[in-house]
């Protein structure tokens, strides 16, 4: 563990935690523009979080410890995930402790706690949200893992930093398996981040909501942390996508701190483009019925498995 590695680790975590709400604000702004609405401020998510922190927390009667600790655990899990995913540099000491499979495990930890906390109060909406979230998760999680496996078979490692190092420094060639994986990953990210074809982040309509149904009982600092964690999750998924499919510019182990700092503006640029694309997808597609979701996610899962098969067949 070098001091430089430790510094880049902390820098990357700090940037993720700080920039995540900005990414959400940017996506919302783009979507508003695309839909001919007047756009909210780019910094609205920050203001929301600050406002929520200042308020008194309301906790429902009959809430257990799970309800109260969930926001902290989910936030903690997302921070850990942000520390693993190489967004600026691949010299990450913590990434040695947790690889791609552990990353998926961390997401599962957050998901399970969210679902349990949603069931804790015992309202109809809470358990509805929990059920739908687990339902989406049980197909999305394997699909994500298969995508990561495709990348790890190419690079011969499940460590995200090694994967990025290999993918960033390979000679320019077309990897058909990565194309499959890319499509699958896009679909999974939409579902996992409660985005439009599967869920709608902008509504509280009971027939459609998943994520919002689970956190209906939360308020004030708890809600602020959950919102922040959701933003971090979007940030993490974006960074996984960028790391797997556009790993250019991420600083390698020996590159020194200039390279790490230089990667930051590039990351912001990539995220801006990615966020705009996300807004575009959300604008162009319609929310589907909840029972169409397994078809959507099943397709993603099969595409990911196909990617793995293609990798085995063609060796690339």
């Amino acid at each position: 563990m070098t001091a430089a590695g430790f510094a880049s680790q902390l820098l990357q975590l700090a940037i993720a935690v700080a920039l995540a709400p900005l990414l959400v604000g940017w996506v919302n702004q783009c979507r508003a523009w695309l839909q001919n609405k007047s756009a909210p401020s780019l910094f609205l998510p920050y203001r929301t979080i600050r406002k929520l922190f200042a308020k008194d927390a309301v906790v429902a009667e009959g809430a257990s410890g799970i309800f109260r600790t969930m926001p902290y655990i989910v936030f903690g899990a997302m921070c850990c995930a942000a520390a693993i995913v190489p967004s600026l540099a691949t010299d990450l000491p913590f990434a040695r402790a947790a690889d791609a499979i552990a990353l998926v495990g961390l997401f599962a930890l957050a998901r399970i706690f969210m679902a349990l906390a949603a069931m804790d109060i015992g309202t109809a909406f809470g358990s509805l949200g929990a059920r739908r979230e687990m339902f989406v998760g049980f197909l999305a999680e394997p699909a994500l893992l298969m995508v990561l496996f495709t990348a790890s078979l190419i690079s011969g490692s499940t460590s995200l930093t090694t994967i990025v190092d290999t993918l960033a420094h390979r000679e320019l060639a077309i990897y058909p398996s990565l194309a499959f994986a890319g499509v699958a990953f896009t679909m999974v990210s939409l579902a996992e981040n409660a985005r439009i074809p599967v869920d709608n982040p902008a509504t509280h309509l009971e027939l459609t909501m998943i994520h919002e149904a689970m956190i209906l009982e939360y308020s004030a600092r708890h809600l602020a942390l959950i919102e922040w964690a959701a933003a971090l999750k979007l940030f993490n998924y974006s960074c996984i996508g960028l790391a797997l499919f556009f790993p250019i510019g991420i600083a390698a182990a020996g590159d020194g701190w200039q390279a790490t700092l230089g990667a930051a503006p590039l990351l912001v640029l990539k995220l801006a483009i990615g966020g705009a694309l996300l807004a575009l997808i959300e604008t162009l597609s319609a929310k589907m019925r909840i029972f169409r979701a397994p078809e959507f996610l099943g397709t993603a899962f099969l595409l990911a498995v196909l990617g793995l098969l293609v990798n085995q067949l063609l060796g690339s």
Binding site: F53, A54, D56, A57, V58, V59, A60, G62, S64, G65, Y72, I73, F75, G76, A77, C79, C80, F94, R96, A97, A98, D99, I101, A102, G105, A108, L109, I112, A115, L116, M119, D120, I121, G122, T123, A124, F125, S127, R131, R132, M134, F135, G137, F138, L139, E141, P142, L145, F149, L153, G156, S157, T158, S159, E217, R221, F291, A304, L308, Q312
Partner: protein
């Protein structure tokens, strides 16, 4: 002179039998049984675990006891494999015996003293299975194990369903036993020598060794619950008292895994690659089947029984992968996979016992097994609820708990497979890996359903408000198992190093030096390839969570207002509006519709004042495989029954005809 481990194990078996015999002295004295016999059994179990742990990696020892039939003495032997399983047996039995001290109450079923006798005979039989060194002892112990557990399953024998479940269990157990017997008959290879020592040196021709392997897979599969012989598990587990379910799921299923490992890797010389493919496929199908069916159960013990089927499936799939690697000479990879398999065996013993015992506490406190009538128990039974949460997270494969480590190792093993020289097998891998991760994700669904419906939410029935938390003994047993789950999770490198002598014994190669970077990291093959450190993950998560809490409290405030839950403008909310188990499993039921055979669906009418929806789901296999066999057997019995006329003259005629025939043939 120090006693050898083998002598100590024999002493432990004798001690268990003696404790059981004491139970017969005062069969109706509940106090004597629960305050003296079960704690004594737990002490013996702890001793056995220590001896087992000590004997892993030591030289094998064997002895011959002049017991049993003339000319058929007991051959006993302890080696690393049996020592590992003895450790597992002792470690789980210690917790379960401790729990039993607080669990058994007087009922109109079997009297407590008799239960204690059967229970300790069951434990002794399992230990004897593990140290058996000839087919004769093995079969005697195996049958004693089946019989003792049969009587334990039917403790509440006045209930007809329980008698039926017990009967089904006995039938399948005997189908398995016949297959195992035949397997040994093949293994001795015409020498007439049934000691394992001679089987080891026997070299069987290819076809015969395949037959032996598949007989073993069938026989031990029947005990472990591999498809399609799983049918007894979801019936027997709900029928049995919870400690017995825990013991059967945590320890007895593992005896079958032990037998499979012993026959496949030790008694058979050389494995063929396609056995691995068969075991892998069978295991994964079983695992998926178990997970899908667990998701639609509404009885908490049936749900856990299906989850056991799933875990056994994962273990058998892992064994298949070990066979594949070994048959292609990749000893190192085979060693890593075997480590993952044994790790999973150990993990499953801990978390499944924990969950089964937790359901026992819930059952005692509420007299209710159906998920639809529970809920909100975290307020009434905080100890059980929080400890069960550890088991829930562990079985869902959440880092940094133990379930994750074995899944991680197994997935790593799958990712190594491209190095195999055969294209067909290589094509199988993505599909197998996909099935495995799908199973893991489904497990999370199942466990959220289990935990959320039982412990969270509001109580669905008024009588749940009087539920009491578990007593001292039950609590300490649950604590011990939960601690085990955490320790096995955060110290993986130590566990893999501990398992390594078995790799050396079964595969002929050591994997541990290549598995662990140091005590902190698990890094198969190469640290650049993949590495995992549970302790660091745990410390970082806990650190971040505590830091966030402190910052939020310091910078802002900790004010909290307790208010009624938001009713969405509809003030007439009742606890019955929460999801039931059926409701929570409904999406899975819809997605996997073709797999299920829906038995009864009760839809409430619009005029019901207290509507209840229930659905019972059976699997097709019973109707496709077992029902025709049952019908056939009944037909044969009916046809043969015509011979019995009930008149003495007819029977005399039969005797006369038989005599005539004998005279004719024997003459």
């Amino acid at each position: 002179m120090m006693p050898t481990p083998l002598q100590l194990v024999i002493a432990a078996i004798a001690a268990w039998l003696a404790i059981g015999a004491l139970g017969l002295l005062r069969p109706r004295d509940l106090r004597f049984v629960s305050r003296f016999l079960f704690p004594a059994g737990a002490a013996v179990a702890v001793a056995l675990a220590i001896v087992g742990g000590y004997a892993v990696g030591k030289l094998p020892q064997s002895t011959v006891l002049p017991l049993g039939l003339p000319d058929l003495p007991f051959h006993l032997r302890i080696d690393s494999l049996s020592a590992f399983f003895l450790l597992l047996l002792g470690a789980t039995a210690a917790a379960i015996s401790l729990f039993s001290s607080g669990y058994f109450r007087s009922s109109d079923g079997t009297p407590p003293g008799l239960v204690a006798m059967q229970y300790h005979a069951f434990l002794a039989a399992m230990a004897l299975v593990l140290i058996a060194d000839d087919a004769y002892v093995f079969m005697v112990a195996w049958e004693a194990m089946a019989l003792a557990s049969y009587f334990l399953v039917t403790t509440e024998h006045r209930i007809p369903e329980i008698r039926r479940a017990g009967f089904l269990y006995l039938v399948i157990a005997h189908i398995g036993a016949i297959a195992i017997l035949l397997c040994f008959a093949v293994l001795q290879g015409g020498s007439g020598d049934y000691t394992f020592g001679s089987m080891r040196s026997m070299i069987l021709p290819g076809a015969w060794s395949s037959i032996a392997f598949f007989l073993a897979l069938t026989g031990f599969g029947a005990k472990a619950g591999i498809l399609p012989l799983h049918i007894w598990l979801p019936e027997a587990h709900p029928a049995a008292p919870s400690p017995v379910s825990a013991l059967m799921s945590g320890a007895m299923l593992k005896m079958a895994i032990y037998g499979l490992l012993r026959v496949t890797f030790e008694l058979l010389n050389g494995q063929l690659w396609w056995w691995g493919v068969v075991a892998l496929t069978l295991g994964l199908v079983t695992a998926l089947f178990g997970a899908v069916f667990a998701a639609v159960q509404s009885d908490m013990k049936r749900l856990l029984a299906y989850s056991s089927i799933e875990n056994i499936g994962i273990i058998v799939a892992g064994i298949g992968l070990v066979i594949l690697f070994k048959s292609y000479g990749k000893s190192l990879l085979a060693g890593i996979t075997l480590t993952a398999v044994l790790y999973h065996v150990l993990n499953h013993a801990f978390y499944k016992s924990l969950l089964f015992l937790a359901t026992g506490s819930v059952l005692h406190a509420t007299k209710e097994r159906s998920l639809g009538r529970l809920g909100g128990l975290i307020h009434r039974m905080p100890w059980v609820a929080w400890l069960a949460l550890v088991g829930t997270l562990a079985i869902s494969g959440i880092p940094p708990l133990n379930g994750f480590v074995s899944e991680w190792l197994l997935l790593q093993a799958f990712l190594f497979t491209p190095s195999l020289p055969q294209t067909f097998v290589n094509m199988l891998v993505p599909i197998a890996a996909a099935a495995l991760v799908l199973t893991a994700a489904l497990t999370a669904y199942v466990m959220v359903k289990f935990y959320g419906v039982v412990f969270l939410g509001r109580p669905r029935e008024p009588n749940l408000a009087y539920a009491k938390d578990a007593g001292r003994y039950e609590r300490s047993a649950l604590c011990y198992l939960a601690t085990g789950c955490v320790l096995l999770g955060v110290l993986p490198a130590n566990v893999t190093a501990f398992i390594d002598p078995i790799n050396l014994m079964l595969i002929g190669a050591s994997a541990a030096p290549r598995l662990a970077g140091n005590w902190l990291f698990l890094a198969p093959i190469d640290a650049d390839r993949s590495s995992y450190s549970a302790l660091i993950v745990l410390v970082v998560i806990v650190g971040v969570v505590l830091l966030t809490m402190t910052i939020v409290r310091r910078l802002y405030h900790g004010r909290v207002r307790i208010a009624p839950a938001w009713d969405c403008g509809f003030p007439l909310q009742t606890p019955r509006m929460q999801d039931t188990a059926e409701g929570f499993g409904q999406p899975i039921r819809q997605v996997f519709e073709p797999f299920f055979r829906i038995m009864q669906r009760q839809l409430p009418t619009p005029f019901d004042s207290a509507p209840r929806y229930s659905v019972r789901i059976d699997d097709h296999l019973w109707y496709w495989i077992y029902a025709p066999i049952v019908r056939g057997a009944e037909w044969i019995a009916r046809t043969a029954g015509r011979v019995q006329q009930g008149r003495i003259s007819v029977y005399l005629t039969y005797s006369f005809c038989t005599l005539l025939a004998l005279l004719f043939f024997v003459r």
